[in-house]
């Protein structure tokens, strides 16, 4: 944004006296090189991070190749390393979480900006954002002991009856599984979606709202036909940031998804995601398995980095991310 105007370096002061300049030049050089040095150090750590994860997975890629992406069975005990079920569970649980979280998140962002009186806006927004402060292990605990029984005795039997046991509501109502993981994920990514789309919407010119109202539009017409379309790319960015968070969420998912790496058959299926599999199997893995788990880490890293880079591009364009 306004990087150039804020850079101290670009403000060589015209009133510099020649005497001051010598001493100052040297010290400034030291200062600049300190900054550069630490930036280089941190860049090195980042590169080392990527390198060590990719390096660790290398044997798996050379041995298994594309099976890591397309194989339908994950069974490290028998050295079968098909990553597809884990990838599918990760992606499906994220998509279903978005299905829950996006309408609620957008509605909340609109209410915060346009319906609530200003006095209530900040406090309500802070409450929604507190959802992001609760540690994921606490969501896991809540999911495991409160939601699992509720899902298995109430929600899933009800959905099963309603749909006549048809896909995607087929299978035994176990409680734990993809559907519950999605529910917990939806709660966890909701604050991200709300906070960013709220900022994006607030960054729109106020004139748009008043302009539409002045043409005789109703409140819902303003929101649906003008505000939401105008904020579209920023909202898509907010959703993608939420998706990025859901893809990599580990412990809460691990505690409620059932921990069984199999091809998902319905929303009631138990499963295992990339992250949850790494968390449960990594420390006790044999050398061969470590490489395969490293490959899962690489897949997860690429997936989340791509989604996040996409999201940040979209949100940055709206100028709302800086807040």
């Amino acid at each position: 944004m306004n990087q150039s105007t804020k850079s101290l370096l670009s403000r060589r002061n015209a009133s510099d006296s020649p005497r001051a300049k010598g001493a100052r030049g040297e010290s400034d050089r030291f200062y600049v090189w300190t900054l550069r040095g630490f930036a280089a150090l941190f860049s090195a750590i980042l590169l080392e991070f990527v390198y060590s994860i990719v390096h660790q997975s290398w044997p798996a890629w050379t041995h298994e190749g594309l099976t890591l992406l397309t194989g339908t069975t994950w069974n490290p005990a028998n050295s079968v390393y098909g990553g597809l079920p884990l990838i599918l569970d990760t992606v499906i649980s994220t998509l279903v979480a978005l299905l829950f979280a996006v309408p609620v998140g957008l509605g909340t962002a609109l209410v915060l900006n346009f319906v609530l009186p200003r006095r209530l806006q900040t406090i309500t927004a802070s409450m929604v954002e507190l959802l992001a402060a609760i540690p994921s292990v606490v969501y896991g605990l809540w999911g495991l002991y409160v939601l699992v029984p509720w899902m298995s005795t109430t929600i899933q039997p009800w959905l099963g009856r309603l749909s006549g046991g048809a896909w995607p509501f087929s299978g035994d109502p176990l409680g734990a599984g993809i559907m519950l993981a999605s529910t917990v994920l939806a709660v966890m990514i909701l604050p991200t979606i709300v906070a960013i789309s709220r900022d994006v919407i607030a960054a729109l010119p106020k004139d748009l709202n008043e302009g539409a109202l002045s043409l005789g539009a109703s409140r819902s017409q303003v929101l649906r036909k003008v505000i939401l379309p105008s904020a579209k790319s920023g909202i898509l960015g907010a959703i993608s940031l939420g998706a990025g968070r859901a893809l990599g969420e580990t412990v809460a998912v691990l505690m409620v998804i059932g921990g069984n790496a199999q091809m998902p058959r319905s929303l009631f299926s138990v499963g295992a995601t990339l992250a949850s599999t790494i968390a449960t199997e990594y420390t006790e893995a044999s050398p061969g398995n470590v490489a395969a788990l490293g490959a899962l880490a690489v897949i997860l890293m690429v997936l989340t980095a791509a989604v996040n880079a996409f999201a940040r591009r979209l949100v940055r364009r709206t100028g709302a991310l800086s807040s």
Partner: protein, 276 residues
């Protein structure tokens, strides 16, 4: 909505009668925000098919008055409008008056051009009609063409109606906003410093446009630019900020009188550029 509104629509009190003289009457209008008075006891009449200008220094309540005329203050919590604002004899703040209907009769053009950024030129022009439930293509096309012609934009955009509104220049965007407001066929058009963000050439285009639009719509314009008020308006309301920071009407008269023979010494000072 309630029955009194329906009755008003039926007997034409809300719908027709746009040539009653005067069209709009303000009587002892007070506007306050959370108890702080911003405009006090303002009374004047708006003659149909004329341009009425609100002039005065910053903070004198010009825009506040303008925004009370299409009830935009309804959006602001703590805002209160008192007194009588009569449109064709009907109080626009009376219970049962639908703001949506009112605003389709009293359009508004803002300081900065605010076309809807995601819509095409055509969709921008007909957006007001669509908001108001008009779907018929022939009516939309007819109104769009007429509005764009009146806004002196038809020749340059008729071949690219599907283009995004953002492809237009600033002056063109403002004329698009005028066309958008005209398409709903309002009786009154409120203009809040419509040329303050435009270059001199675009400003001149808009001023010419306003004079041409007089036979189609009654205009009320807020302007900081006294030459503009002198050039385009028929009647002028001069406001000043009182000691308690509330805007008050100092003088209301035909424009020529305000500029050549004002009766209040403060008006003399202002039009001679002695303050503000």
């Amino acid at each position: 909505m309630n029955d009194s509104l329906d009755a008003a629509i039926q007997d034409g009190a809300v719908v027709g009668e746009f040539v009653t003289d005067p069209l709009l009457q303000l009587r002892k209008v007070n506007v306050s925000f959370s108890g702080r008075v911003a405009v006090r006891d303002v009374s004047f009449d708006v003659a149909p098919n004329k341009i009425t200008a609100l002039i005065g220094p910053s903070g004198s309540g010009k825009t506040t008055i303008l925004r009370s005329l299409n009830r935009l203050h309804d959006l602001t919590k703590g805002a209160k409008v008192e007194g009588d604002l009569l449109l064709g004899g009907v109080d626009i703040y009376k219970g049962g008056i639908a703001t949506m209907l009112l605003r389709s009769r009293i359009g508004m053009v803002f300081q900065r051009p605010n076309p809807f950024p995601t819509l095409s030129i055509y969709d921008n022009v007909v957006s007001g009609l669509r908001f108001n439930g008009i779907r018929k293509k022939s009516l939309l096309d007819e109104a769009a063409e007429s509005a764009l012609i009146s806004a002196a934009l038809w020749d340059s955009v008729s071949s690219r109606m599907k283009a995004h509104a953002s492809t237009l220049s600033g002056g063109e965007q403002q004329r698009l906003c005028i066309a958008r407001a005209l398409a709903v066929e309002p009786e009154i058009l409120l203009m809040d410093e419509p040329t303050s963000s435009l270059d001199p050439v675009s400003t001149q285009r808009i001023e010419e446009l306003m004079t041409e639009l007089k036979n189609r719509v009654t205009m009320i314009i807020v302007t900081h630019n006294m030459q503009q008020a002198a050039r385009v308006s028929d009647n002028c309301a001069f406001l000043l900020m009182a000691e308690d920071r509330a805007g008050e009407l100092i003088e209301f008269a035909p424009t020529s009188k305000i500029f050549h023979d004002p009766s209040d010494p403060r008006t003399v000072d202002y039009v001679n550029g002695r303050f503000g």
